[in-house]
Symmetry: C2
Subunit: 253 residues, 2 copies
């Protein structure tokens, strides 16, 4: 899967590098960018002015930074995902019913991308936010997605992103991963037992209205809370049926 343009537009690439760098540095002055990128200050100035004219960049004093235009754009893109449109109200309900943190995510470029979060009364505060991208192998949402992708796709994703260790519970070899995915398919849901974050567990179910997997929904909670309540409240059942409802809404929309 090579995505090299065979006739790349170099000028556009320079602008994109500039955008990346502004993000990385949370804004910067021109002479700083001059050191970071291989461009002269005259060129940087031209690019930044152009991006500014079009509303992508804001200048405060001599500091340039990305504007909220990207947030606006991102909102538009997100609103086209049926899993977001139909999943949002269901995620709200699941959060209200369980009191937990509910996540809605899809797959892009072999990563999970968080589309929405709903917070119940006792929702944990996590490092994950809308737009964040995580690897798929060590989170419940990720494994719920991987389980319903073709094997060769999973192989390619593991090739690209690896199986890096995050906690002592992280799955780090392919064989174990494929066994796990098989058991996800048998059970219809995936779990994350402190595989990415110490003390945090998740339960996820796939959202699959047709042949293709569109994403997954999960609940996250501290290990103690999930352990206590998982069976009493049939949390697994709630997550699975929410995922099913979303899938049905999408299928017959």
């Amino acid at each position: 899967m090579t995505t090299e343009a065979n006739h790349p537009v170099r000028t556009t690439e320079k602008s994109l590098h500039l955008i990346e760098k502004l993000r990385e540095l949370d804004g910067a002055r021109i002479h700083v960018l001059e050191d970071e990128l291989e461009m002269t200050k005259g060129a940087i100035h031209n690019h930044l002015s152009t991006l500014r004219t079009h509303g992508y960049v804001i200048k405060e004093g001599n500091e340039y930074r990305l504007s909220l235009k990207v947030l606006t754009l991102g909102g538009y893109v997100r609103s086209n995902y049926s899993i977001y449109q139909f999943g949002r109200p269901k995620a709200n309900k699941l959060a209200a019913d369980t009191g937990m943190l509910v996540n809605l995510a899809t797959e892009e470029h072999g990563q999970s991308v968080y589309l929405y979060q709903a917070r119940g009364e006792y929702a944990v505060n996590l490092d994950t936010q809308v737009g964040h991208r995580l690897r798929l192998h060590n989170i419940a949402i990720g494994k719920a997605i991987l389980a319903y992708l073709p094997d060769e796709r999973v192989e390619a994703i593991v090739d690209e992103w690896g199986l890096p260790t995050e906690t002592e519970n992280t799955i780090t070899d392919r064989e174990t991963l494929f066994e796990e995915l098989e058991s996800v398919r048998e059970q219809g849901f995936a779990t994350d037992l402190e595989e990415r974050t110490e003390g945090l567990c998740c339960i996820a179910a796939p959202i699959q209205p047709g042949d293709d997997i569109l994403g997954a929904i999960s609940i996250s909670a501290p290990t103690s809370r999930l352990g206590d309540r998982a069976f009493d409240d049939d949390l697994v059942g709630q997550v699975k049926s929410t995922a099913n409802e979303i899938a049905l809404d999408i299928k017959y929309m």
Copy 2:
């Protein structure tokens, strides 16, 4: 306030036009873009391939569309706003306490940009979403912001965006607007009584940790519900004190 680059990078502008168009059309094929933009298909192909290499565009069959990379970027930009960082937990609490829809917004380019929404138990479903941009003159959040901007800034914003009618309650002349803003300053909060949307009312308070106004927080509810509960629950007081808490958190962070 002219933001014309005096040496614009035309190639970058072409890519940006392409991005805008993809957003507008929610994705498109090359020959459609050829009709919409003044570019040949060869050029469009080069630009799209370049944007794709860098992850901004996705190709599905022969259809090109914007990827979630912009959502990711937008998330990073948003997380740099202190009003978001500190306002998010407070907005969650206000939503839980009042059961309503809570909005957090800032100003950019003379518009309001929604940074966050928190949903209480009885929150209305609205057309506003994170990232959306609205005019300032006919929403509570907007007037709460305008009231604490310098007069000449307000004038400039009205010059740029006008005071278009949305409902019969919309303020449409400058004099009334400035009177309203004066009363917002006296009272320390702003209201929207069906000025943008029939049947919807809002209460907003400014977030101003220092000399500059950073944004505002509001609650939205159907006219009937707000009317019933506004006085009983001292909703105005709750919104104002939440705004104050956020401002203090930011000031002494």
